[in-house]
């Protein structure tokens, strides 16, 4: 029903889409695969009218159309569920749904609309109270609101952008059930993902994008996940696999008395959204924390680095209690932090590279003495660490916002790793980075591990943890369950992430 022909799009020097051809048919689920930055989202934003292509043609049922805005796309029966939900939290489910309804009359008949919405949800096997504010719903339920929003406008083509990234495995099953029902109604569904197993399961047709080009297309049943992976990544770039990274240059730590002393330990830590969390990490070890976002990860990181005092429990390092120490005091002991949200939490995007590098050490000589900053010395320090981490920037005086995501993260690493950290807390450190930058970050983490740092790696990407970590624990609803990884496999960890199979005492 929708054809995208020879679509081209550039962002400055970057060619995002280089003559892409895709055809979506009614009654089929079409998978769109590719690495971060392969052009999946750009292509779909073109299809949804959010981006204007530089070249190419969009055809709907054979006739060329021009989509100048999402509104026109919506009017033509295209709906999109964004990876980051487009919902107004304080407004009710009904308001959010009605908002996208361009046919609604000026004066809304709310009662009738609420009934119709509940009926629509029921058709997909869901129950939803239309009058509840969206912010009170779980992530999975919010996604349903997004899908209902599109269906309310009778979307014939539904684009789902990385729909499973935020869901637990059981929620994924329910989503797939709904997708199948939509397909059976004769709608066409576009399923964007980089998770091969899921794509293989739910999709009928597949298109693989790499660097803005279609590198493979065909029926899902004709291809194996391994082949798909090859298509996605290509042979020119080293991939993140267990073979490349796992346990490189690392001897499994042998617990003895001295080592016991050297560990980072959390004893029965309780804080907002965290219940009775205990673990220990030895020097030279990466402990992975798996879990769907919002299960206490932020709070756990905050407690370890000293951003938030626990209401109960202790944080011990080298046998001494650091619970009461501030973030700065812990930093002197060698605590480093790579926060979850680069631009919001780790950097001041409007300030220069130098200023971002000195963000934590600005009080210490040589950067400042007696409260007075020496800019030449600060610049020298910044230059030194930035060169070490291969940050590509025009100069150290440009705003960090002008750098690419990979270079921004390198600035963070340069600052955090310059102190030769002994404890590292990293949360989703490669989110949104391209393959090269991802590999760089992984290499740096492994280098710190080899140098004897105790690393806490919190990630919502299970594959990342499986590749990098020595041990893995799962955080669900604020409770930590340690696994016997690697004896515990991927599926078992996935079930724990969904809150299934938890030991009785942690429910």
């Amino acid at each position: 029903m929708l054809e995208l022909l020879d679509i081209r799009k550039r962002f400055g020097a970057l060619v995002a889409l280089d003559g892409v051809n895709v055809r979506f048919s009614p009654g089929r689920v079409h998978g769109l695969l590719g690495e971060n930055g392969a052009g999946k989202s750009t292509l779909m934003n073109v299809a949804y009218g959010m981006l204007k292509p530089d070249g190419g043609q969009i055809r709907m049922n054979g006739t060329p159309v021009v989509l100048r805005s999402p509104r026109e796309a919506i009017a033509k029966g295209i709906g999109m569920v964004h990876q980051h939900f487009m919902l107004a939290g304080a407004m009710s489910v009904l308001d959010n749904v009605l908002l996208g309804d361009w046919r609604a009359t000026q004066f809304l008949n709310r009662r009738r609309a609420a009934d119709e919405l509940a009926a629509l949800a029921e058709r997909l096997g869901w129950t939803l109270d239309p009058l509840v504010p969206v912010e009170r719903l779980s992530v999975g339920q919010q996604q349903r609101v997004e899908i209902l929003k599109a269906l309310w406008r009778d979307a014939r083509l539904l684009i789902l952008d990385e729909p499973t990234a935020v869901l637990t495995p059981p929620e994924v099953e329910q989503l797939f059930g709904a997708v199948e029902r939509l397909r059976d109604e004769g709608r066409s569904v576009v399923f964007i993902s980089h998770k091969l197993g899921e794509v293989k399961r739910i999709c009928d047709d597949l298109t693989v994008l790499r660097r803005g080009r279609v590198v493979w297309e065909g029926a899902a049943e004709d291809v194996s996940p391994a082949e798909l992976a090859n298509h996605m990544i290509g042979r020119d770039v080293e991939t993140v696999t267990r073979a490349t990274f796992s346990r490189r240059g690392h001897a499994t730590p042998i617990p003895d008395d001295t080592l016991e002393q050297a560990r980072l330990r959390l004893d029965n830590v309780t804080a907002a959204n965290l219940h009775d969390v205990s673990f220990q990490i030895s020097p030279g070890e990466i402990l992975g924390i798996a879990g769907v976002d919002g299960n206490g990860q932020q709070e756990l990181a905050a407690v370890v680095v000293g951003l938030r005092p626990p209401t109960r429990g202790r944080v011990l390092w080298h046998g001494s209690d650091v619970t009461a120490m501030s973030l700065e005091q812990r930093r002197i002991l060698g605590f480093a932090h790579i926060p979850n949200d680069r631009k919001r939490e780790a950097l001041v995007p409007t300030m220069s590279v130098t200023e971002n590098v000195m963000l934590k050490e600005y009080r210490d000589p040589p950067m400042s003495r007696f409260g007075v900053i020496s800019w030449p010395k600060a610049a020298a320090v910044a230059k030194h660490v930035v060169d070490q981490f291969d940050v590509r920037a025009q100069s150290l005086d440009v705003a960090v916002a002008t750098l690419s995501g990979g270079n921004q993260q390198k600035v963070v690493l340069a600052r955090e790793f310059a102190i030769q950290p002994r404890v590292i807390v990293a949360m989703n450190p490669v989110r949104g980075l391209d393959v090269a930058a991802t590999n760089f970050v992984y290499e740096q983490l492994l280098a710190r591990r080899a140098a004897g740092a105790a690393i806490l790696l919190i990630s919502s990407e299970l594959d990342e943890l499986l590749a990098l970590c020595d041990r893995i624990g799962v955080l669900y609803a604020g409770r930590l369950t340690m696994t016997n990884f690697p004896a515990t496999g991927r599926e078992a960890i996935g079930r724990l992430m969904a809150g299934i199979d938890l030991p009785a005492e942690s429910r």
């Binding site: 999402p70 509104r71 999109m80 964004h82 980051h84 487009m86 107004a88 939290g89 361009w102 009359t105």
Partner: protein, 328 residues
Amino acid sequence: MTSFLAEGSLGFWSVPLAMVGQALRVSAPYLYVSLGETLTEKSGRVNLGLQGTLIMGAMAGYAVSSRSGSALAGVLAAGVVGGLLGILHAFLCARPKVNDIAVGIALMIFGVGLASFLGRPYIKPERVPAMSPDISLGFWSANETVRANLQVNLMFVVGVALVPLIAWGLKNTRWGLILRSVGENADTARAMGYSINGVRLLATMAGGVLAGLGGAFLTLAMQGGWKDGLAPGTGLMAVALVIFARWKPLNCLWAALLFGGAGAIAPALQSVGLNEVKINLGFTQLRWGRYVFEMIPYLLTLGIMIFTSSGSRQMAGIPDELTRARWL
């Protein structure tokens, strides 16, 4: 009660009565401006320049009605001028990296200055045509004072009627829905295909129109003339009342009445002979007079803010985009 009031001398009852009367008389500008600002802020913008808009509306309303001889023409002119200033604000704010508060203050200074400059020929003692009929809410009473106090202007009635209309419209119309969504989450609205700047332009313009009308009330109904330094701070206060009213139109009405009524405390107390309160501290005696009473509305507003806020939560009802932009 009626018979008691009918007796002529009202005694201490004249204080609350005067406050009610004052509230009905002077709250309209606060009401119009705060309703306008509610619309603007619901869309995720803050227009601190409504003081300037109010004064420009006051000047334009008076100038046009005294030239044309028609009060209605003056009111309309005030609305148009207010709308234009609203458009100017929206246009400036739509540019990247420009701060709403900065634009608002610039427009406030500009508006007040321009009104004072352009209005110079109109500082005349002459009366304009009576703007609109006064409506008596005191018809039930035989008491002169009561009736005199309960005269309200048609524009005030219109303003009060706007309150449920706006509240209902925000909730139950498509425009209201779009407006709220732009203020709650601009990305959402953008993904739905609405123009964020377009919606905010309309909202700021509507806010400007209402503020301009409030200005017309100042010169045409309340003061009966234009002068420099008219209503200093009324517009600013009304903007503050929106926060106080938690972005709810109905609360705006209560806030405007409360604030208007509280302004009558000092003169009313004086009229019953209470000129000052003496507080003996032993070593010295404080004599609190009129000016201390006049602080009451502001301190009251602040006090209610303090008691209804919490140190740990963000304010209830605040449009999310305002929090995100860190205006408030």
